[in-house]
């Protein structure tokens, strides 16, 4: 009787050969990931060299943009998103400052509103290496030099001020300066520069509370589990106006000055080394130059001139 089975001694060798074959098959099939230059890890300046110094309409013509999905400009933001940046948690309705800015930038690049697609991306998904599911991300992300090592930013589209929100009649309602905040329990949303404001500017005696979302933070404020919530001024003004269902009696204590020379700015986020970065920056610059940004600010963001400054 012939034996179809391998003799014992050659079996391990056969297994090893099979394994090698499988691994070879799984070996990376070249750079199939679109949009990401293979030799990354270099500083963004080299990526800027990819599309630099050419006149607008040339490299940045709508047809020559390297998009995630051809024919549509994919914009990402988080879920949920809040006023005054977005309205009703529906970015596609064009309402809210950031929604409007996104459509304006898309317009400058040559896309009609119908050619703009919205998608959801958490901050972790935005900073993850690997191909992105979007072209740009708009979600109140502050530009910092540290972050530039991992993501690209457009030029800033809004100058941010941090502010302190509390409840009417609360412990901090009458605070006039940073010294009054020393013993308070303060909170901020995770991953925001607001958190840094607490640790670097206010420096209270207790540890700051950090929340997954602003909703959680507002709940804690309403419960009295924190005395004050640090967040950007426009959101704080919106909350203090009483338009929110969670926090009914919010009160603005004041805003904080920008320490250091350059103001903190929100920027549009792109993949590190994205070929679109220069074009998007140009679009933002154009919007600033022709006053669109200012106009959108006036439409969507409450006037902050009256907010007291906490020093």
């Amino acid at each position: 009787m012939s034996r179809a089975v391998l003799p014992r001694r050659t079996r391990p060798a056969a297994v090893a050969a099979a394994l090698l074959a499988v691994l070879a098959g799984c070996a990376p099939a070249g750079s199939s990931s679109s949009g990401t230059p293979s030799a990354s890890g270099a500083a963004p300046s080299s990526a800027g060299a990819v599309a630099s110094g050419t006149a607008p309409g040339g490299e940045c013509a709508k047809g020559s943009l390297k998009l995630r999905r051809a024919g549509t400009f994919t914009v990402a933001t988080d879920n949920p998103v809040y006023e005054p940046w977005f309205v009703d948690n529906k970015p596609a309705n064009g309402k809210g400052f950031e929604s409007a800015v996104a459509y304006a930038v898309a317009g400058k690049l040559g896309f009609t509103p119908a050619e703009v697609t919205w998608t959801t991306a958490s901050f972790s998904a935005v900073i993850a290496p690997g191909p992105k599911a979007f072209d740009v991300d708009v979600n109140e992300v502050s530009i910092t030099p540290e972050r530039r090592k991992g993501i690209d930013f457009s030029t800033g589209y809004y100058d941010v001020t941090q502010a302190l929100l509390t409840v009417k009649g609360g412990r901090l309602a009458g605070a006039k300066g940073i010294a009054d905040l020393k013993g308070a329990r303060l909170g901020a949303q995770v991953g925001t520069t607001s958190y840094r404001t607490i640790t670097d500017v206010i420096k209270p005696s207790g540890k700051p509370a950090v929340f997954n979302t602003n909703d959680d933070a507002k709940l804690a404020l309403a419960n009295g589990q924190i005395d004050g919530l640090v967040l950007d001024l426009p959101t704080a003004l919106y909350e203090a106006s009483g338009g929110d269902s969670v926090l009914k009696n919010g009160a603005l204590v004041g805003q904080f000055e920008n320490t250091g020379g350059t103001p903190e700015q929100f920027g549009i986020v792109l993949d590190l080394g994205s070929p679109l970065t220069a074009c998007v920056s140009k679009a933002v610059d154009a919007l600033r130059a022709d006053g669109t940004l200012k106009r959108l600010e006036q439409t969507w963001l409450t006037a902050s001139a009256g907010a007291p400054v906490l020093r």
């Binding site: 070996a27 990354s40 900073i127 090592k149 991992g150 840094r196 959680d216 924190i226």
Partner: protein, 291 residues
């Protein structure tokens, strides 16, 4: 009184045939070892090479294994880990006690104790069924919102309560399995000596039951070390993963998470090995049990 067979004592030296057999077995064992070592090394090298030649590797390496990000985030993440450990220590004790109480309640015999058994069963069903995160929100924000007199609104305390409620339900089932695994003859022997039902449970059944469930309890404890950090969702306190999240957002880099993961493993692995060794030494684990 005879106590076993006569001991054998003679002088025996191995025969030539036996020496031959032993030598053959040694040779074969050595060869197997070499093959195993070589194939392990080969496969590992292959995998490492596949990893490093991936086109996205440089960016992934910078994003997940950045020395600079690790160095900067380590102090805060370590501070957060300290919180995890403290919360773990308190909740572990509470959950073991509460879980044991619920397990005992579930097996109280007789019709008079039916309400207690029903209550214990409902407790287990409720807190095993509810996701821990939901429970944290309900207790940490919901109960705090009620502003009841005398009920602390501290997120740390309420978070610890939520953790205890959830984990004690799992632990109760582990203990119950242990109790039911003790042979009824043990209970009979205890009663036959005149021990009351309660004494039999306390002195005969529980000591045996608890020893039997040390391995699954270790499982739950290891899980708790990590879950203890979920209380961060309530704002304070900040645990290792939360600090990792803060630093990750600040640096647009994932290395802080890797740091947190490494620190957790650094703590969990020795802890479980140590508990193993202690349990084995005191006879809690069956002979030859390997974990």
């Amino acid at each position: 009184m005879s106590d076993g067979p006569t001991a054998v004592s003679d002088d025996w030296t191995p025969s030539a045939r036996e020496l031959e057999r032993a030598a053959y077995r040694r040779r074969r064992a050595r060869r197997s070892l070499l093959v195993a070592a070589a194939s392990t090394a080969g496969v590992t090298t292959l995998l490492a090479w596949a990893l490093v030649s991936a086109p996205g590797w440089p960016r992934v390496r910078d994003s997940f294994l950045s020395w600079d990000a690790a160095r900067r985030s380590l102090p805060d993440v370590a501070v957060g880990l300290w919180l995890n450990l403290r919360m773990f220590a308190v909740v572990a004790v509470a959950m073991l006690l509460l879980g044991l109480a619920v397990a005992v309640a579930r097996q109280l015999p007789g019709p008079v104790f039916w309400p207690v058994r029903a209550l214990a069963t409902a407790y287990v069903d409720l807190f095993r069924g509810m996701p821990l995160l939901v429970l944290l929100y309900l207790v940490g924000f919901g109960v705090a919102g009620l502003r009841l007199q005398g009920v602390p609104a501290s997120a740390t305390v309420l978070g610890g309560v939520a953790l205890t409620l959830s984990y004690s339900a799992y632990v109760a089932e582990v203990f119950r399995a242990g109790i039911e695994s003790v042979h009824p003859a043990q209970r009979a022997a205890g009663r036959a000596l005149g021990l009351t039902s309660g004494q039999t449970l306390r002195l005969v059944v529980l000591p045996q039951a608890v020893r039997r469930v040390v391995p699954p309890l270790l499982n739950d404890l290891a899980s708790l070390i990590k879950d203890s950090g979920l209380v961060s969702v309530l704002g304070i306190p900040l645990d290792a993963v939360r600090y990792a999240q803060i630093w990750s957002a600040q640096l647009a880099n994932f290395t802080p998470y890797v740091v947190a993961g490494a620190l957790f493993m650094l703590v969990t692995i020795p802890l479980t090995r140590l508990t193993d060794a202690l349990a084995r030494r005191r006879g809690y684990l069956p002979q030859g049990a390997h974990l």
